[in-house]
Homo-oligomer: 218 residues x 2
DNA sequence: ATTGTCATTCTTGTATACAAAACATCTTGA
DNA sequence: TCAAGATGTTTTGTATACAAGAATGACAAT
């Protein structure tokens, strides 16, 4: 099943925004992008439309589309919602997870551990993503799973930056252990609390997140 | 700020799907719709693209777009997530709500009560929507507010049907009272529990929801 | 000098034309 | 008769052409 060109362009644009090629507030010129991707304006417009739906970009009628990176306040808000969604996932997963999935969760956590030991930030990031995805899935609620994945994807670049903070990976791992233990014990409330602590931005994490935003604000 | 034509068309199509003009599984023909709205295919395609992003319609490459109403399982899942999001809103609102907003909440609840007394189902539906919207807003988290509104909108037609069940409006009102009392007492946990009970689909409500889906399944 | 107005130009929004892929139908061979 | 392939038709995806609204800049009037 081949995807269409505008979808691939949307993904590419997403990447260009995440990696900073297009900064907050930049206008995305249709003809310019059409040139860059060697297509006409039509697929570009469709791609921009998709990005606008996902909130990565804001479209002002008759004015154009502009990159819209969330500010500090919105970021905190998004992490707050993410923490709650993950907490729900974890609570449900604790009750509903299958034995084989529990084994997978352990395996994913082991892979995280190895990445930490290898000081492989990117590797850890990917394995961590997998770890969380397993929990979403084991909530047994596919709609919830989708919503979690959507937000996870949106917060991806910011989480990634967080991991670069000294000692954060090890702390993150310790939190994982709590989560796994709670789920294994089928203790929904504890699992929810553990993952909420893991995800939510508080104390030092808040400070670091703000610091990481500084360059973008200049 | 004038919206563009394709947005109005998307809204119109949304309505046509909600009111059953287009049933689940129907293919939405681009040229046919273009004729119906007296525009070219371009704005139709943009509108369909938007609907596809919001999940109301599924787009199969090179095959067309098809109406995709959620089935029983997905509906239950969506209500489960909605209940949790509202619970979070209520918990936060209980801690953060302002005095004036609390007064507004009371006022909205009064209007609900009047609608119940007048047996005005549609009126109740609208006021109820307002009531919940106030809670979302008073969570103090605009991102959460937006997410709640999005889901509320998506579940709108199904909630509406629920209200037509005999006695449901009165029960709904009673649940509102619990929620208001808990928020007024700044008891976040109680508010969350109350609104979770109010929104979640369980027991009789589950039965009625399934019954309301029967006609669509034929 | 500043401000308001007008015109030019640029960019988005829409229509139409074209290309390509999927579907249906018809033919042909065993 | 049935199957497989070719062909024609329909429909989506993309390109281009056109229309309309907004930004920019010049010029005039106070």
């Amino acid at each position: 099943m081949e995807r269409k060109r505008s979808d691939r362009i949307a993904d590419a644009l997403e990447g260009l925004i995440f990696d900073g090629t297009f900064a907050d507030g930049d206008r995305l010129d249709e003809v310019q992008l059409a040139g860059r991707f060697s297509v006409s304006r039509t697929p570009i417009r469709e791609a921009l439309h998709r990005l606008s739906q996902s909130g990565l970009v804001v479209q002002i009628p008759r004015r154009g589309v502009f990159v819209r990176q969330p500010g500090p306040v919105e970021l905190i808000e998004m992490f707050e919602v993410m923490a709650e969604l993950e907490a729900v996932s974890a609570r449900l997963a604790a009750a509903r997870i299958s034995e084989t999935a529990l084994a997978e969760l352990h395996a994913a956590n082991e892979r995280c551990k190895h990445a930490v030991e290898a000081r492989d930030t990117d590797g850890y990031y990917l394995e961590n993503e997998q770890f969380h995805a397993i929990i979403y899935r084991q909530s047994g609620n596919s709609f919830l799973e989708q919503e979690c994945l959507r937000l996870q994807r949106r917060l991806q670049p910011f989480r990634r930056v967080q991991l670069r903070v000294r000692g954060r990976m090890k702390q993150s791992m310790a939190e994982h252990e709590d989560v796994v233990a709670a789920i294994e014990a089928a203790d929904g409330d504890r699992a929810a609390a553990a993952i909420r602590r893991h995800v939510s931005v508080q104390g030092e994490k808040f400070h670091h997140l703000m610091a990481s935003l500084k360059p973008a604000a200049e």
